[in-house]
Structures are given as structure tokens and as C-alpha cells.
Symmetry: D3
Subunit: 280 residues, 6 copies
Amino acid sequence: MADYSFEYFTVQFPTEHQYVAHVEINRPERLNAFIEVMWENMGKIFNKLSTDPRVRAIVLSGAGEKAFTTGLDVKAASEGLLSSDTKTDPARKAVAFRRHVTTFQDCITAVERCEKPVVVALHGFSLGLGIDLSTATDVRLCAKDTRFGVKEVDIGLAADIGTLSRLPKVVGNYGWVKEVALTAREFGAEEALRVGFVNAVYDNREATIVAALKLAALIASKSPVAVQGTKEILNYSRDHSVQDGLRYTSVWNSAALQTQDISAALLSGLQKRTPTFEKL
Amino acid sequence: MADYSFEYFTVQFPTEHQYVAHVEINRPERLNAFIEVMWENMGKIFNKLSTDPRVRAIVLSGAGEKAFTTGLDVKAASEGLLSSDTKTDPARKAVAFRRHVTTFQDCITAVERCEKPVVVALHGFSLGLGIDLSTATDVRLCAKDTRFGVKEVDIGLAADIGTLSRLPKVVGNYGWVKEVALTAREFGAEEALRVGFVNAVYDNREATIVAALKLAALIASKSPVAVQGTKEILNYSRDHSVQDGLRYTSVWNSAALQTQDISAALLSGLQKRTPTFEKL
Amino acid sequence: MADYSFEYFTVQFPTEHQYVAHVEINRPERLNAFIEVMWENMGKIFNKLSTDPRVRAIVLSGAGEKAFTTGLDVKAASEGLLSSDTKTDPARKAVAFRRHVTTFQDCITAVERCEKPVVVALHGFSLGLGIDLSTATDVRLCAKDTRFGVKEVDIGLAADIGTLSRLPKVVGNYGWVKEVALTAREFGAEEALRVGFVNAVYDNREATIVAALKLAALIASKSPVAVQGTKEILNYSRDHSVQDGLRYTSVWNSAALQTQDISAALLSGLQKRTPTFEKL
Amino acid sequence: MADYSFEYFTVQFPTEHQYVAHVEINRPERLNAFIEVMWENMGKIFNKLSTDPRVRAIVLSGAGEKAFTTGLDVKAASEGLLSSDTKTDPARKAVAFRRHVTTFQDCITAVERCEKPVVVALHGFSLGLGIDLSTATDVRLCAKDTRFGVKEVDIGLAADIGTLSRLPKVVGNYGWVKEVALTAREFGAEEALRVGFVNAVYDNREATIVAALKLAALIASKSPVAVQGTKEILNYSRDHSVQDGLRYTSVWNSAALQTQDISAALLSGLQKRTPTFEKL
Amino acid sequence: MADYSFEYFTVQFPTEHQYVAHVEINRPERLNAFIEVMWENMGKIFNKLSTDPRVRAIVLSGAGEKAFTTGLDVKAASEGLLSSDTKTDPARKAVAFRRHVTTFQDCITAVERCEKPVVVALHGFSLGLGIDLSTATDVRLCAKDTRFGVKEVDIGLAADIGTLSRLPKVVGNYGWVKEVALTAREFGAEEALRVGFVNAVYDNREATIVAALKLAALIASKSPVAVQGTKEILNYSRDHSVQDGLRYTSVWNSAALQTQDISAALLSGLQKRTPTFEKL
Amino acid sequence: MADYSFEYFTVQFPTEHQYVAHVEINRPERLNAFIEVMWENMGKIFNKLSTDPRVRAIVLSGAGEKAFTTGLDVKAASEGLLSSDTKTDPARKAVAFRRHVTTFQDCITAVERCEKPVVVALHGFSLGLGIDLSTATDVRLCAKDTRFGVKEVDIGLAADIGTLSRLPKVVGNYGWVKEVALTAREFGAEEALRVGFVNAVYDNREATIVAALKLAALIASKSPVAVQGTKEILNYSRDHSVQDGLRYTSVWNSAALQTQDISAALLSGLQKRTPTFEKL
């Protein structure tokens, strides 16, 4: 795992959960607030995990008791912005901002694009970028104490790293999303569960991570051909018509159905034993 | 109704519910598991019902106490697959699989494409293909004992007959769908109601079918021009932008608003009597 | 405000809520049923509010205790239809109907297109066009006594002013929408809250309007650059893929991030005082 | 025709061409360069023509020998821009620019949205906005002396009134469009004919207008139900998949095929006489 | 070939061209004008050819010297329409028309959907439906004497069997398509070649069919995996963004690249001999 | 330029053409056939050029007299494929192929995504990947001796690096593309010019490169804000509806119109001198 040594992150392969990787944001002294190197590293980590055959499911969590992440490190960001701000032409500034936002978005999209399912364990402050980030994962679990918030309007901007595009499709309700995004009001675990933003609520950070690892381990015990196909087809279908989704599925499965995993799974089912599947 | 004689299905036109057809999957000795002739027949039945003027709403249910359907008859499918499997070129196998999946999908899509609304009454095991099938209907009701499951990953494949494209749009929540599709865990009636997969839960199979017939009869009592337009425009809108949906609606209604059903409905409203509508 | 004098509407700028406009449908003697001049005026009002720098958030409500609106004034509509109906060629009638529906839709779409967020306060009868109208707003609040209904099939037509395109995306669930749209059955505040059609329920009309004004005032206190960008990007994202949404966001924010509102907001945050933002 | 009195335009209904309207840009002393009131008037004229039953086809041309139009009146535009430019916040300026561009685009789109086909007769300088404008028409004819040019990059901006979206779909070739749009180089009638930007070339302005009127008259002699349906379906199909185009066509024609124009046309065909069609 | 016995068509497998099927419209005494059974049979034939392993490329032509087809048999169509026309409600008539058009479209779309490339050899009158039909093929060749025409507006209707959706994408130019579709003017082989509607022009019907067979034979000599993948990906790409096209291609080829045809083709290339490919 | 040192490529900034970069594929001893490191390097080069302020337009050419490129180095590719081919499960092989194709596509898409316009100078053999590559550039010029060919079906596969998605949109004609892609027949400079694949033909390789540099220099002399906006909006519009294109354009230009380049360009125009534009 030496190859997963990235500043501000720990990446572990817990021995008790085969094929599971555990990624943790690790800047607890600043409540896991993100600076540029962190989202770049996050992008790199998930790009690597995407094709690492040792991994079939991933858990993402935040170190420290207080926060999953408070979001962007606004102080660092505004300093960076100010110091680099030598351009005066608004059109040229716009190009610089657009490139910056695009690069930033792409690092977070790496989580969605990752071929392996990602379960996020949220706790404490999970604000701003924390929402962007968790909407790019596949399943969200949280601790009772979690404080969520689409906080961007409170600092004068529209959320631009994915929340406004993904959150409505995660919860499927535009009215609630508009309210929390336009007011920046915080909400808790119970409300997050009720609107379907999280799948389940646990007592505290530790219990949430344990549950996330267990869920990831369950997913990792299934055929990786089946699991990764399921993630890909669900992501494709979100952005296409049903007819297009069906067509894509039939082409995808034209190769996937040739897998030996199917007979392995069927046979194990008959023999009441756990199947093993070839690396992927 | 001699013309609706298809193996493994019964199709009835209950006399107490005018304009309602009741389709029942009828292979209870195998828990209504599907073999190829069954989905072919299902396609044929719904294609016929779509233009049958005796029908304005349809109920779909499963015979036998134990299951709506356990899904694909895996035993039959794997035998079929093995016996026919003389191709060795993976690209040629892929063509065969793609054609097979496409044909299969098309039979299930017949339920969605059917011009008349379809209410499904679910009970007992409603697994795998049972989910694909019910996402293609318009309204889902279920009995308390129903056991749902997107079981495909447990047999080594990504669900390919419609669940992954339609289920997220039925319930409007990607987080929950990803969890149940990636883990294949079963869920019950209460959870199905909570996430909006079913509209209501009833005591048992019989009560569910009674409720479904009543709901279908209510729909069948309305103007068929209005009802069928509503189904079509909702289906179109699911796969298009709001602006496209509005444009399509205005063109659709440019003919539909010329119907005599409107004055018939208005007049009946004033006269407090039940309107009758010309055949469609 | 003399410039907001439109028949059947009152438009007020409540002094206690800076930057908030309050639009009220005002034909209580006919339960706020809509005649042609009303939707035309509604379109005009929201087109004006969209660029009026005095306004940063809008509340929409209905005058009178009994109804937000019972929808289209069917009596007036059918008289109009009959008197003008000198065409006999169905294709020419279709053109007339299509133009009519398109113009009507466009007036209601003005609410969605309005650059400022719109909070609707619903009460009493909120039927037919009342649903079309409220799905075009951003946040829906309602009184306990509200009676909702997609009533169009009961008068022989498919809803064509927006409900069938927008309602499923508001609540994110096709099963429930199909049931209420195909049966025209009414539903109350509790059900509306449960399915996510409204964000909150209040004791009566007055309390709902007070809450709506308070919510609008909260939104109006934020940076208008941030708020209006958030509304626009959410609306865009509803109709596009996530990838398209991200791209549009990055271009939008390439200008918006140059706003002085960001430093104003950050500074106010540090100084624990309320920021002020330049007109927009 | 008093109702078509708009500054900088003449609108005529030539008596020798039944059902044809002739719109002429009329500011020859400034080479028909556009100021704001002109595009606003152009929008109003085409919105009116769209539903005027006296009109079934439209010719658009420019007065004076030298130019169809040299495009935007840059002098007026830059003065307007400067005088109104009191905003200093780049985000607020961006809002003002976006509203301005959107309004401007909408006036030009009125030509495309107009239900009646529009034939443009081009001559002399046809630069900048002249290209935007002519891509919104249905058929382009030009005089031998026409000088075309997508000139916007020469004044430091990307063409934003429609050329970049419509021109590639008019000529169907991205390589040529990119060259002329990125270099702003002018091109003549012959090249315009070769790449398919114009349908035919005539000796001079007069001959081009005569040909355009003749073509418009031919179109105006056909069933307006058929002609307007053809324009609408072609415009819809440009922006949708073939499958979507077929679906829209079948719905459109479900009303249009009920027209009496079909039997009128068939009968006239058999009797070798000119059919007449009811007003539309 | 007994299984390809369909009224009004001949289907041959010319011995001198391996893997080529030759379909001929065969109602020369009525200039190959289409009656309902003919388009139904055309749909059936191409659906069968699509999966017939004896076929890798198809030629479509018309019997008789005078016409490929004059299009719909208007006399038969209007009689059919009149006799069946017992409905008086315009909305119900609209449903009947829509179902009819949809069914008709689907038979012609069978040519496009057919997995094997189709080369059409056009000659003589090729009007109306003849254009719809040939836009659904892959490559168009024609004889010098061919008379083309989108004739529908001349009989009072907008072309609804595919021309308006497919023709612009075949030739890539909306200006020319609008002119010929709005005026119904005929055009000849030379113009068809110039605008790219046909790929080549030959001296007469016979020479065109010979050339079409030769072209089909050339295509049929290539790897069917490669050829059928190429047709499918090109059809998919026409209706999707480039990014979507690339994604679909990578999934399609993930199976297709596993074919033994690649090594067969490479080896034959090295050994300068004709490769043979397994059935598909 | 030390930072543009990539194996198999030369990158130059010709002193006589300000702001122009010249990229040359440099493996002439193998006719510039591509091996993996080459497309990786091509991706890296264009990603860097995209944001390099020294560059405003780019020329791409091939070293050596015989070929721009013969495409993929099939020998190297098949060896690589064979040696790495230890997987036996077709579904797992499919994953490997899909990842490989996706990575490969992404390197070529870097040319399209590059913010600066790219002019390609083609000569000699320009086959297979040479077509994929040149369809990702903005303008294509070629020498008289160029031999083009979509050769992929001749080696048993469907072209998968972009040709099938981009070529039809470059030339705007599906009939011609289908013929050359399904037959793999080669075509020359004259045909390429006629169908619009290239913009102009020159006497030989040298003259083509000179012309390409001149064209690039002309583009590089314009406002980079205007030029890069034009490229971006044209690329966006290719994949979206006209309505979407207009909306994106208005948002894009809301920042770009604030550039000082506009007054710089206007002033230079009045003063008949060459404008200079700030770095971008």
C-alpha cells in the first residue's frame, strides 16, 4: 500500500474485509477542510483504486471526531485567489476561474467514475464540499451528530463542484434541494434520512464506519463483474432516457454475460457455499 | 376472450369492472418463474391489450399464494444457454446475447408501451424479473408479505431487463437503489412503501388484487382520451427536458382537446351523473 | 409599485421584508379561478419581477380563505371555446389549440424562468392549474386545510400547462404521480408533505403566508449573485446530464466568482455582521 | 397593413403573389446596420406574421444596393454599452450582458419560430448579424455580388446571436464553419453555393428578390397545413434523435391528417386544377 | 429461400455474390406503389435478414423499368381511409392515425435497424415513400434517369414516414432539404449526387443494380463483426453527442475486439489471401 | 521549449509566426505508425498547449515524405495484446479492452478539448488512426498525394478512437461516411475536398504545412478571447440543440464580452493598425 501514500489521506486495506479499501480524509486539526493538494490527491487515489484488482468496494470517511469535512478551506482559498490575482481583464479572469473549477470538479468526479462502489461514512460537520463529495459516492451512511449544509450561498457563490447537479438526482426532490441550497440552512441526520440523502443513521462516527465497512464487505463478496456493471449502468441510466439505458445495458451485458462468475455464483448457491471470483 | 389464450397466463375481463382487463401470470407450481415462452406471451398480451377497445385499464398479478414471481427460471435459462452454446468466438457470443437481451427487454417494455394504464398487484416473492416487470407498470400495490429483491448480482450479473434504468426513476432516489441493487438484499412491503416503490400495502394477496381492480376500475371510468394522453405524456416527460415535455404536450392536446369527452365530462359533472365515453 | 397594477393580482413589497415581493392572485369571489387575462397578467408580472432590482425573492399566494385557486375557470373557458369555434377543419382547430396551449404554458413558465426564487403559499382548494402553477415555483409551503388535485382527467383532458412534465421531477416519484394524475383523486397537506410535494405544512393560510415571507426574506438576505446562480443551475441541471450540468456550472461561475459579494460575505462572516450586497 | 408599420422595416403583401409577405430591412443609409430597436421590431414583425392568416410564406431582404446588412451597428452598440456601463462588479455586468444577449437572440429566433417558411434574399454586404439572421431562415438565395463574413472575432468576440449554433447545421460541415468563424475571412456567392449555405445564386439584388418571391409564392400555393407541419417537423428533427423525430411526427400528423386539404389536393390533382385551401 | 416468400417482393441470394441478399419491390404494373401489405412485408423481410447468418449485406431495388417506387398508392390509401372512417370524434381519429403512422414508420425503420448494411439501387420515379425508404438504407446509388421528389406537401400532408427526420442527416444540409420538402419540386440524379443524397450515378437501372451488388459483395467480404459494429456505431452516433458515441463504442468493442476475425484478417493480409470469417 | 520534449514528437514555436505552436509526429522510419507511448504523449502535449499562454493556434503534421501516419502500429499492438493476454474470462477481457480503448480515446480527444484551434496538415498515407486524429482537429488541409482510408474493417474491427462519432459531423453526410467506413476503400485529396473533409488541397507536404502555419498565424493574430470562445461554442453546439447552444453562448459571453479585447480590436480597426491582446 506504499503506493497509496498521499498527503492528507490514509488509505487502508482492512485485513478483516477482503477486497475493501478504506480511504480517510486526514487533516483533523483543520476539521478536514480541503486545500488544493487534497482534492488533487483525492482524484489520484480514486483513479488508482478504480483499476486496482485488490479492491472491489471502498469506504470513505473523515478523521477526527468533529467533522467529516467543513468543506473548502476558505481562508487558504481566498489567500490563493488574492495572491494569484494579477489579471485585470474580466474575460481572462473568467478563463482562469473556469479552468480552476473544471479541474476541481474532475477530482471529485473521480469518485463517481471509479469503477468500484463507494460507501461514504459521514459524521460531524459535513458542509459545502462535503455535500459535493458525498453526492459523488454511491451510498451515504451517517452518524446521529452529523450537521449537513449546502453552505455556498452564505459565502456568496453558487455551489460549483457538483452539489447542484447531483443532489437533486440523489434525493429525487427539487423542492427540498432548492430550499436547502437557496437558504444554506443546516440539516441533521434525521432530515437527511427522511429525504433519502442518507440510507441509514448510526449512533456515532465509529459505528457509522463499522457499518460502512460491513456494507462494503458485503458488496465486495459479490461477483465484481456483476457489481461493477451495476454501478456503471445505474450511472449511465441517470443521464439518459430509459430506451437509451436499455440499449446500453444490452451491449454492456453482451460481454459481461459471458463471465464464469455466473456459473460460479449459481453453483455456490446450489452448494450453499461462498463463491470466489477471479480478479478484476 | 378466446383471443387471449396464451400459455402460462390467464386474461379475464371481470364483469363487475367495466373496461378492466385482469392479466395473471399462471405458473404457480414453479412460483411463476419465467421461461422464454412466458415473456414472449407477456409481450403479445400487452401489445394486444394496447389497442383493444374493450379495455381502459389493466391489472397484473401472479397466481398462487407464494409468489408474484421469483423471476427468471434460472434452471431453465442455464440449460438453454448451455445446450445452445456452440459458438466459441466471444464477439459472436456477444451478438447472440445482445439479441437475446434486446428481445427480452422488448417484451417487458410492452407493458410500459401499452396505451392503457397498468396496475400491478404484488405479493409473496417478487424478485429479479419481478422488479423489472413491475417498474414497467404505472402503479404498484403490494401485500404485506411481499419479499422484494433486485437479486441479479447474486447470480453474477447486472440486472438487464429494465430495473437499472427504470427503478431509480420510479422511486426518484439513487442512494437507495444503489444499495439494494449492489447488495441484492431483500426488502419488505413497509420499506417499499417508505421509499415510494409501491403506492399502498394491503393485508394479503387477495386484498391487494381487489384494491388493484378497484383502482383500475376508477381509472377506466374516466375519459379514455384523457387517461391515455396522461400516461403517454408522463412517459414522454420522464425521458425529456421540461421544455420538450411542454412542446410535446401542446401538440398531443391539439388533437385531444377536440374530443367530445370534454363536453360529456363537463355535462355529467353539472348533472351529477356518470359520464359515458365513446370506445377507444 | 404603480407599475405592478395588473387586473386580478396584487403585488406588494412588504416594508418589513427587504427585497421581497408578494404577489397575490386576487379573484376570491370566484375562488381565484383563472380566466385568460389572469394567466397573461401572471406572465407579465413575473417577467417584470425577473429583472426588477428591488426584488430578490418572491412569495405567491391566493386571496380569500377558501382557495389558492380552483384552477381554470371552466365555465369561462368553455364559453370562449364555443363562441370562437367557427373552424370546422380538425387540422386548423388543432393549430388554434396548439397556439393557445403554448401561449398559456409560456405564461406559467414565466414563474420558473423568473431569475428570483419563488416561494408559493398554498391553502384551501389548490386544484388543476393550481398544481401546474405551483410546480413552476421553487419551494412549496401549504396550510393544513389544503386540498390538492390533478383534476384534469375529470374534465376529459390530460393536464397540459406543466403538471405532467414538472410534477414528477418535483417529487421524484412516478408511481405516486401516475396514481393521482390518472385518478384525479384529491390529496391533503399531510400526503403532500410525505411525498415531498410541499416542504412544510402550517396551521392556516395566514401562518403559511407568514412562513413563506420569512423564508423569502431569508433568501433575499443572501448574495443575489449566489442565489440567482443557484436557481439557474438547479433548473438547468434538472434537464441535463450531470456532465452537462458541471460544464454549465463552470462557465456560469467563471463570471459569478468575480463578484465582490464573496469578499463582502466572507468579511461579514468574520465580523459577525449582516452583509449588504449591491443591487442586481 | 397599417399594423405592420415598424420603424426601419417595410412589410408588403405583394398583390401578384397571394399569401406572401415581403419584409425589408430599411436603413440603407447605414447599410442596414442594426440598432436595438431594429432587432426588437424584427422580433415583433415575425411574431405577428407567424399567426397572420393572410400569410403562408415570407421573403426577407435588405433595402439599398450595397448591403443586406453589415451586421450590428458597432458604433451605436459601443456608445450604448459605454453610457449604460455604471456597474463595476463583473458578476453584475455579466448578468446585464446575459440578459441583453438573450433578448437579442430571442428576436432573431422569432424568424425560426415563425410558423411560415422564410426565404431570405441576400446581396452585397451580408456580414456578422446578417449571417446570424439568415441561418434562422429556411432557404437562402443570394446575388452574385454578396460578401459574406462571420466577422465577430475581428471585433474581439465570439458570435452570439445564433451563427455558431445554427450555421454548422445549415451547411452540415464543421471544418468549413470553423475556418470562416475563426479567421473572420469573407467569402463570396460561389463559395456559399458550393458549401450549401445558399441554395442558388442570381445576377443581382433585384433578380434575387424576384426569385425569392417566386419561391415563396410556390410554397404559399401549397396546403398551409402541409407546409407549416413540414417546417415544424424539420426544425424539431434538427435538435432530436431520429426516433424522437418519428414519434413527434406521428403525434403531429394525428391531427394534421384529418385536414380537408388532403382531399382538396388529391381532387385538384385529378382534375388538373389549382387547389384552394381554407385560411390558416 | 422459401422462407422469404412475401407478396410483392422477390428475395434472392445471388450465387455469384456470397453473403449478399437482393430484395426487390415487385409490383411493377403499378409502378411499385405501396399498399399496406407491402410495407408490412418489407418490415418482415428486413427483420428476418437482420439475423440470417447467410447474409452480410443487402441490395434493395425496384422491379420494372419505370420506377423504383412512386411512393404510397394514394388511391388505395384514400379508399382504405374512407371505408374505415366511421369515427367522428377528432381525438379518436387522431389515435387511429397515430397508431397507423407509427406502425408504418416501424416497418420502414426495420431497414435502418437491420444489422446488415443495405445498399439501395434507385431508378426512374423514386418519389414520396421512395425517399423515406432510401433514407433508411446505408448507401444510395442511382441511375441517370432517376426522378426524386419529396412529394407529400403536394397531397396536403407533411412527410411522416421518416424523410423529415432522416434526410437532413443524410445530406447534412437543412437549406436544400427545406427547399425540396416545402416545394415538392422534383430533382434528378445529378443534383442528388451534388448534395450527397446518392454516392454515385450509373447509366441505367441495370448498371445501378450491378454496382450495388458489387458494393454489397465488397462489404460482405469483410469481417461481419467489424461491418455490423461499424453500422451500429454510426447509427448510434448520429443521435448522440460525440462523448456518448465514444463511450458506447468502447463498450461495444470491449466484446467485439475479442473476435478471432482480427487475427484472421491480419494473417490474410500478411499472406495476401482472402480471409474467411465464421458465420454471424 | 524543453518542457515539450516528448518521445516521437517535435514541438516548435516558429519565430516567424507569433503565438503558433507546431507539433509534428516524428517516427518517419515507421511511417509515423502509433505505438502506445505516442498517443499518451500526444495527449500530454495537447493538454499542456491548451493552457500555455505562448500559444494561440496549433499546427499538427507528420514527419517524413511518405505518411502523415499509417495509423496504429498493428504489429506492436498485436504483440502487446498477445503477450498481455493472460485472462481467459471474456467479461474480464472486456473490462481490459474497454479501459484500454477509453484511455486511448481520451488522448485523441485532448486535441478536440485543447482550448486553442488546431489545424492539421495531412499528406501521404493518412489512414486509420490518422482519420480519428484529424477529425479531432478543427481545420484539415492536405497535400495532393494524400491517401485517406478508414481502414479498420480491413483488420476486423470497427474504428473505435473517434472516427465513427466525429467523421459524420465533420462532413455532414452519412451516406458517404458509411460507404468509406464499411468498405475501407481509400480516397484521395480531390474526393476529400469535394465531400468537405478537407478545406483545401496543396501541391505537396511542404506547401500544406506552410499553408497550415499561415492559417494558424492568422487565427493567432485575433483576440484569443474571441477565438477560444468560438472554438468552445462550436464544439458545444455540435452536441446540443440550437436552444441549448444559444443559452450556453449567452452565459459564456456574459464574461467574455467584458474583455478589453473588444475595445482594442475596435480601436485598431479605426486606426488601421494591428491590435495586440493581453496573454491568455
